[in-house]
Symmetry: C2
Subunit: 328 residues, 2 copies
């Protein structure tokens, strides 16, 4: 495939057929009219052995956990509560039933945290690598649209947690495999890759706050996700390197390496978004009460849709929408 974005554009319907469809393809998840009080949030994510993971980097438990986490993260990026999931798994004969059971245990352990129910699925055989696809259905207060296109000039850009750790963990796992005796610092990065935690509570705080919010989850690196907000909203985002939240583990690496992982790594599943300055102060106060963090990392201005990075004592630099293209 030449270009993933062009492909998605080519299959995206030009119009809605169902009156109850509020938001179709184009954001982290679709929004569908539910009851008077609630809309439904629906998303799907697929992981392929040899493309998104290998058994050298991930135990079966991790694979299940992470595949569900990626989907829950999409619901979180819409401010939603995850409720149900369905699992499609195509399994090669080389996988034992026990290993397969571990994948389900990885999903169920995370699902239990959110009281989610497994409500359907299909288990089929394949002669190729394992393919795991999960559909998650959640809900959000009706009328709430925490979409990428909501950013406005004057907004603060914020993040709800660190980024870059998962990419660092992947680099370590690719170099040493998951059975390597990692140091404590390295273990922190490896765990960020294998057992990422979606930021549902942060998304919920935003949905309940009744303020305009642009929101995206960091599945493809900060540069790519920020660019999606800039392009969807038609605004210019400037991120400040010194403000971007970095774990202590990440900070133990050279700055160039930190930048590579944080800006272009991905699979962190924290949230990045924008909102008005006055709303942000209020949100930060509320967040403190529930032990959540909302960190200001930059600003939104009128201008050509793009993302810029400010480093101390260096000229401002344009970031590119690299992210991880599974076809390149």
């Amino acid at each position: 495939m030449r270009d993933e974005f062009a492909w998605i554009a080519s299959i995206t319907p030009k119009e809605h057929r169902q009156a109850s469809l509020l938001e179709g393809i184009g954001d982290d998840a679709a929004l569908v009219k539910g009851s008077e009080e609630e809309d439904q949030v629906v998303c799907l994510d697929t992981m392929v052995e040899g493309v998104h993971f290998t058994t050298d980097t991930m135990a079966p438990f991790h694979i299940g956990h992470k595949a569900l986490a990626a989907n829950i993260s999409d619901v979180a990026a819409m401010g939603g509560i995850p409720r149900y999931y369905l699992v499609s798994i195509a399994v090669p004969a080389s996988w034992s039933e026990e290993a397969l059971g571990e994948i389900y245990k990885g999903m169920d352990t995370l699902a239990e945290t959110y009281k989610m129910d497994l409500i359907g699925g299909d288990t089929v055989s394949t002669k190729g690598p394992l393919v795991l696809s999960i559909t998650v259905i959640g809900s959000v207060e009706s009328g709430k649209k925490l979409l990428r296109r909501n950013a406005r000039p004057g907004d603060v850009v914020f993040m709800t947690g660190c980024a870059g750790d998962a990419a660092g963990g992947l680099a370590l796992l690719l170099e040493h495999t998951r059975n390597h005796p990692f140091t404590l610092t390295e273990q922190a990065l490896v765990q960020a890759h294998q057992l990422p935690l979606p930021n549902v509570e942060a998304g919920r705080l935003l949905a309940e706050a009744n303020v305009r919010v642009a929101l995206n989850d960091i599945s493809d690196g900060v540069a790519s996700e920020a660019t999606e907000i800039a392009e969807s909203s038609g605004v210019k985002l400037t991120l400040v390197w010194d403000k971007l939240p970095k774990s202590i583990a990440l900070q133990s690496y050279p700055q160039e390496q930190q930048e590579q992982w944080l800006l272009y790594g991905g699979e962190d599943y924290t949230l990045i978004g924008t909102m008005a300055q006055e709303d942000f102060s209020l949100i930060q106060q509320k967040a403190k009460d529930c032990n959540l963090s909302f960190i200001a990392v930059g600003k939104v201005e009128a201008g050509a849709p793009a993302v810029w990075l400010e480093r101390s004592q260096q000229p401002i630099e344009a970031l590119h929408k690299a992210g991880y293209n599974h076809f390149s």
Copy 2:
């Protein structure tokens, strides 16, 4: 995998965590509480190249059509209206973007019939065969449960159309490939395999009729689907061979061949179910008004859960739950 049914049992949750979950794993689709008026019907189905189809038997357009049809059929078997779908596709490099586009065209053409919207998905690469997984979300009047476990002694067993044609078509395609110049009779069977049509209207008539109905779609052969009803309901079903609806194309084959395809073939996507005799007369009248067919094919009695077949001038025979086990 030793046994698909044992595997499904092992991953089926023992309890519901969400109060809004009405029916989880165990029927054609899950039922979730929606608005005051409507519940939601959710299902997922996966097709793998080399297991469920090959490019010798199915053009890309057929693959898309059939994968969506299989899911819509599960919604039909719950009496539901299909509304939305999400598509996960893992594609090997050998597939051209054009062929991939044809898969989507096959889905969209069928989706248009039902005014369904494509609301999400994921397109990823794989080094193995193509894996296509579709999730469909539909709706049904709240409180309607057209479940397999609803059969009662004294019920009529009915079908909403012919079965066996799709298996006949598959046999022809496996023998000759899809480029063979088939006779008109053969073409009817081939089309039943490549472009099956789910029986949504028949399911809707049953949901709107306000009667107790046990219902299943014929995806794994009449013997297997009837056995699921017998086992879920704890009743004995007797089917009468002469009453089972057979197409003219199917009838051109020897009876032994007809039986093999009709009873153990699958992928027909017509419906089989049971209801009280007095309700059935009413339904047949209504069906006639809308050009639908409900054909009485047998009876339900108290007894050990099993399915029996009556043929003229032959001893009654027990049918086994063969169906198509993708792991055998």
